[in-house]
């Protein structure tokens, strides 16, 4: 069993109908993710990276259309699952961490309740055990005084703490695959590192797979094993994280060069050539 990859995707396509005909936002994407592997998907806005993440969970809503030759998770064909079966997989076996805790948490429910709900949907547990699991999970994401925080509402906690609550919520059903879509772009640099270290720690050693979606090349380079660079719905380059600086594709090189460095001696930053487009 350990030989089969955790996730196999072949020829994944996502398209949206527009008055000018369908627009493909993901154009024939292939990927395989092993157990305990950490894959980073990098690209600019509109490159289709988030759509890829969502389509793994079959979360593309009409009028969006999703097709794939293979979309297999742990030997299970996701394309063949009905809505109800999909719902049982989402959260329990594949989880997704969204970008902004401010918009992803329910403002009128306490944090403890929300985390418990995430678990309750998938498992029937006595209330006492449920409470204990919630507290344990909050401890795990390094929230001090979890009993007190569990009784708080999302607006009472900071952004970093909110994101840790989100992580707790996503990990409490012990999923096998975690998709983190820009988990830290709404957070401060110092908190960013904490949150990613935490994800790292929880993912390794639990046989969990991780897909980290981000626009920050260096960040993904630090936290993943393998990196996929996307542009215009296509994968332009895949490389091992430590070979990122050796990337050969002009687009990847462009992205790398456009980033200011800690020790900046360049007078001007090189920008990507957007020939044909209106530019920015």
């Amino acid at each position: 069993m350990t030989e089969t990859p955790l996730l196999e995707v072949e020829d994944l396509r996502v398209s949206f109908a527009t008055p000018k005909g369908p627009v493909e936002v993901v154009k024939g994407l292939n990927l395989t993710l092993g157990r305990e592997e950490r894959l980073g998907i990098v690209g600019e806005s509109g490159s289709g990276k988030s759509m890829t993440g969502r389509s793994i969970l079959r979360l593309i809503r009409a009028p969006g259309k999703q097709t794939a030759k293979t979309l297999r998770f742990d030997g299970l064909d996701l394309m063949a699952q009905g809505t109800r079966q999909m719902r049982r997989i989402r959260g329990a076996r594949i989880s997704m961490i969204m970008q902004d805790p401010k918009f992803s948490l329910n403002p009128v429910m306490t944090i403890g309740h929300q985390i418990a709900e995430a678990l309750q949907v998938h498992e029937k547990l006595p209330r006492r055990d449920l409470q204990a699991r919630v507290i344990e999970m909050l401890n795990l994401v390094r929230i001090n005084d979890p009993e007190r925080v569990a009784k708080m509402y999302p607006h009472e906690v900071s952004g970093g703490m909110g994101q840790r609550v989100m992580i707790a919520m996503m990990l409490i059903p012990r999923p096998q695959l975690l998709i983190a879509d820009e988990p830290t772009s709404a957070l401060d640099v110092s908190v960013q590192a904490q949150v990613l270290d935490l994800i790292q720690e929880l993912v390794t050693g639990n046989g969990m797979g991780l897909i980290l979606i981000s626009h920050d090349l260096n960040l993904v380079g630090r936290y993943c094993d393998r990196i996929m660079v996307m542009n215009g719905g296509e994968v332009v380059e895949t490389c091992a994280a430590q070979d990122l600086h050796k990337a050969t594709h002009p687009y990847t090189r462009g992205l790398l060069a456009a980033q200011p460095r800690m020790q900046e001696a360049r007078e001007e930053l090189p920008v990507l050539d957007r020939s044909g487009g209106a530019g920015t």
């Binding site: 600019e44 960013q192 260096n218 456009a258 800690m262 020790q263 930053l269 920008v271």
Partner: protein, 262 residues
């Protein structure tokens, strides 16, 4: 002795009963680009707001180009100092065309030849003339930020307050906006006070930085400190480490670029 472009003395700022910024004192020289660095909630944006008059509850002294600033709104002040906000999706009026947005400051100050000035400014920030009569929703994030910068420059101010001008943008678009800001500063002799939490951006744009934590300035350092991490305050060192430090730290390179910088 030249007058500093921005001078803050013992500045305390409060929102209602809560004091959010304490004892901020620093000078920015004319033509200098100075960064305020820190986490959210450290009070860095509040300092900019106080200077621009958006946070009127302050004590201490604020002067811009030698003129002390009062607590009220000041029409002449806005001709010397303008602000660019973080989120170009929120800072442009959704129902006004770019043309209206750009001519409004001129109209308020009774300046003529508006049409010509708008055309020139669009050119200066690298926007095509066809964007002139469009609405903000028809523009991309980078284009909108260009409009926001153009709006701030319409009154030909000497001092620009930049509140995380690129944090809402993609890396490659960020590079374009940073290049633009750098070019404008060179061409028009502007002074920048820039708020950011991105240390590499500081390295590219600024000469000095003040690090803020919990409403106080903990350290003022030159940008060369970013090359080797030679900060003295423990908080700054944490922030530096969280940003990944300097992966291509090389003392020889640091020395070379030191001599290159004016």
């Amino acid at each position: 002795m030249t007058l500093p472009a921005i001078s803050l003395r013992d500045l305390d700022i409060s929102y209602g009963d809560t004091k959010v910024v304490r004892d901020v004192t620093f000078d920015v020289a004319p033509g200098e680009s100075f960064a305020l660095v820190g986490e959210s909630g450290s009070g860095k944006s509040t300092v900019l707001k106080a200077i621009s008059g958006l946070a009127p509850e302050w004590t201490g002294e604020i002067s811009v180009l030698g003129k002390p600033r009062g607590h009220g709104t000041d029409r002449t002040f806005s001709t010397t100092c303008q602000m660019v906000f973080q989120d170009p999706y929120a800072s442009l009026h959704p129902r006004k065309t770019i043309d209206t947005v750009l001519s409004e400051p001129l109209a308020i100050h009774g300046i003529g030849q508006r049409s010509q000035k708008v055309v020139e400014m669009l050119g200066a920030v690298g926007l095509d003339q066809r964007f002139r009569f469009r609405f903000p929703h028809q523009l991309s994030g980078g284009q909108r930020q260009r409009v926001a910068i153009a709006r701030a420059l319409m009154l030909e101010p000497k001092v620009m307050l930049l509140d995380e001008p690129t944090s809402a943008l993609d890396v490659s678009v960020q590079a374009e906006i940073l290049n633009l800001l750098k070019r404008l500063r060179r061409e028009q002799g502007l002074t920048y006070l820039m708020v950011t939490h991105n240390l590499p951006v500081v390295s590219f744009m600024c000469e000095r930085m003040a690090v803020m934590n919990k409403g106080r300035i903990v350290e003022i350092a030159p940008k060369t400190a970013l090359y080797d991490g030679s900060f003295s305050d423990p908080y700054t060192l944490d922030l530096y480490a969280a940003s990944g430090g300097n992966p291509d730290a090389d003392p020889a390179v640091a020395a070379a670029s030191d001599t290159k910088d004016p």
